[in-house]
């Protein structure tokens, strides 16, 4: 699913450097990326998703050389194939739950918001237990409910790759488990690949593989 070769990434400011000589993640696997803060886990997720571009190296995601795409092509690819879940949920405060879930279909013409998409959104909400809160705004939701909305948003496009950056970082233990269950359940059912950045070592046992980022410890420039 994901192949990283000779990746070299530096931020324009500061002296952070991420070098990944080689990394391969199999299709359908569940991978936990662990390591100290600032070691580049989120950076790699962004690079794999095509949110940022490396200075050197090749990243292939789902057989597409992401690093060779244009910015717009990467966005189109990302929205069609990759579901993103963030630690801070990153919901839009002025949209209700349903509109937050449907957001990807409104911000890129590569996706068409048809009636089956709305049905799918309803079902996802039902599955994660927030079907009765579709008309509420994020400020009226609990932390766990917010993250479940974010997960629904990520799953709505039926991605082949799920990238979750500390999805349980701001959740209580009950909700942590619940959210991970949803992610794992989807990965299992759909055969999607799940890559999760996490600091919570209690959860890594659920994953089929753990990638310790200390092996890619950023060097000084």
């Amino acid at each position: 699913m994901i192949e990283v070769q000779d990746l070299d990434f530096r931020y324009a400011e500061g002296d952070f450097v991420l070098r990944v000589p080689q990394l391969a993640i199999e299709r359908g696997s569940t991978v936990a990326m662990v390591g100290p803060s600032g070691c580049g886990k989120t950076t790699l997720l962004n690079l794999v998703a095509g949110i940022t571009s490396p200075g050197g190296g090749v990243i292939t995601t789902n057989d597409v050389e992401v690093t060779a795409l244009t910015d717009q092509a990467r966005r189109d690819f990302r929205i069609r194939n990759i579901g993103l879940v963030f630690q801070e949920f990153e919901l839009l405060e002025y949209l209700n739950v349903l509109d937050n879930i449907l957001l990807p279909y409104r911000i890129n013409s590569a996706l068409e918001l048809a009636s089956d998409v709305r049905d799918r959104a309803q079902r996802l909400a039902q599955d994660v237990g927030i079907a009765d809160k579709l008309d509420r705004h994020p400020d009226k939701l609990s932390q766990g409910e917010k993250q479940r909305v974010a997960v629904c948003r990520a799953l709505l496009t039926e991605p082949v790759l799920l990238l979750a950056d500390e999805p349980t970082g701001n959740l209580d233990p009950g909700n942590k488990g619940r959210v991970l269950d949803i992610l794992f359940d989807y990965a299992e059912r759909s055969g999607a690949t799940l890559v999760t950045v996490t600091h919570d070592l209690d959860l890594v046992d659920r994953f089929s593989r753990v990638v310790d980022f200390r092996q890619f410890h950023p060097q000084d420039a």
Binding site: R75, E90, L103, R106, I107, S109
Partner: protein, 391 residues
């Protein structure tokens, strides 16, 4: 584009207070100078139309502006009076139809215009209800007067004393309302029309009173001889003209010396107008003859100057407001960086993010402009009512 528009709408609806403020600001920025211009242009047109429709005005020497304002717009300042005999003088030239007006008194805040039936023909005023003036003491109300006072044919209006403290001056006359005019969109709507002679009754020059002969009159006579009876102050003068006392109303003194405030002169052609004006050009002439349109043009120049100044101020304030609105928008963009980032990360097309922001701005502008257009339209239609309610 539908998605971007939807998101823009949702954003504006969620932040309704901010949206309302911004929309209102845009509306006002546009409406204030435009609306003001509309009002001024309309009033200018009305004032000019009224002046253009009045060929010449004859009055006592003095301020032409005061003469025009009093005679055409029934403004409160009363110019020096001229004598009624001048009407015959103008008529005898054969150069114009003279229409006398006497605008001095008022009733419940509305000017009383003493004139003749020719005035109604001249101004093309039509009766909406009742009849026109017929008898001494009759009054015909302008459309707005009837509306405001809630008075119609069969009822009465009482003239206001000129001064509460001047007990020896003019005193109230109860005038019988016989008709109401159709709305004309002119100062005539605000006036109470009476026969010229009725204004002389208000002034006290024409009056009716008890008989000074007979047994009951003994206490009313100061002195008498075979030719004349001098009445004393005990004689009760009628303050209402009825069918019973109508015959007692009479004139004292020479009617040609009775006062009027102006004569509207309507010449049949340009030549007559020039000849008539020539008659009043002598340096010894005690009267002045003015074409109202010239006087109003001069006045309106001042209006335009004031308008230009006010609009300039409004535009400056508007631009400041617009700059503030732009600043608010830019600040809100900064505050929305995270939201923009989220959308970017999820995979929003760059143009989509821009489209959402632009749609929000466009929506506020469109609604603001539309509201300004509606307000301008309403001002054009109902401006007079708005001003009246504010006053």
């Amino acid at each position: 584009m539908k998605g971007e528009l939807y998101l823009a709408w949702r954003y504006l609806a969620y932040h309704r207070v901010k949206t309302l403020i911004l929309t209102t600001s845009i509306t006002l920025i546009i409406f204030l100078p435009v609306g003001l211009r509309v009002l001024v242009r309309q009033s200018q047109e009305q004032l000019t139309a009224r002046a253009e429709a009045t060929p010449l005005l004859v009055g006592a020497r003095g301020s032409p502006l005061e003469l025009v304002l009093n005679s055409l717009y029934f403004e409160s300042d009363v110019p020096a009076t001229m004598s009624f005999g001048e009407v015959r003088r103008i008529e005898s030239t054969g150069y114009a139809l003279p229409i006398p007006v006497y605008v001095r008194f008022a009733a419940r805040g509305h000017p009383i215009v003493g004139t003749t039936l020719d005035y109604f023909d001249f101004r093309r005023l039509r009766i909406a209800e009742g009849t026109n003036l017929r008898m001494l003491g009759d009054a015909v109300l302008g459309a707005r007067v009837a509306e405001e006072l809630g008075v119609g044919p069969g009822e009465s209006v009482i003239s206001s004393p000129e001064s509460v403290f001047d007990i020896a001056g003019t005193y109230p006359l109860s005038m019988r309302v016989v008709g109401v005019l159709e709305y004309s969109g002119s100062p005539d709507d605000e006036a109470i029309f009476v026969d010229l002679k009725t204004t002389w009754v208000i002034e006290g020059i024409v009056h009716g009173h008890q008989e000074l002969s007979g047994s009951g009159a003994a206490g009313l006579i100061l002195t008498s001889d075979t030719a004349n009876v001098v009445a004393n102050a005990a004689v009760v003068q009628y303050q209402e003209i009825t069918a019973d006392n109508l015959g007692s109303f009479h004139f004292h003194g020479d009617q040609s010396t009775y006062p009027i405030t102006a004569v509207i002169a309507v010449p049949p052609d340009q030549r007559s107008e020039s000849l008539l004006r020539g008659r009043f050009e002598s340096p010894d002439e005690l009267l002045q003859i003015v074409p109202p349109v010239d006087v109003m043009d001069e006045l309106l120049e001042t209006v335009l100057t004031v308008e230009a100044f006010v609009i300039a101020v409004v535009v400056v304030v508007g631009l400041s407001t617009l700059a503030t609105a732009v600043l608010v928008f830019m600040l809100s963009l900064r505050l929305r960086r995270r939201e923009i980032d989220t959308m970017r990360k999820i995979g929003a097309a760059r143009r989509s993010i821009g489209a959402v922001m632009a749609s929000e701005v466009a929506a506020v502008l469109v609604v603001g402009v539309a509201l300004a257009a509606i307000l301008t339209g309403l001002t054009s239609r109902f401006g007079s009512d708005i001003i009246r309610s504010l006053l």
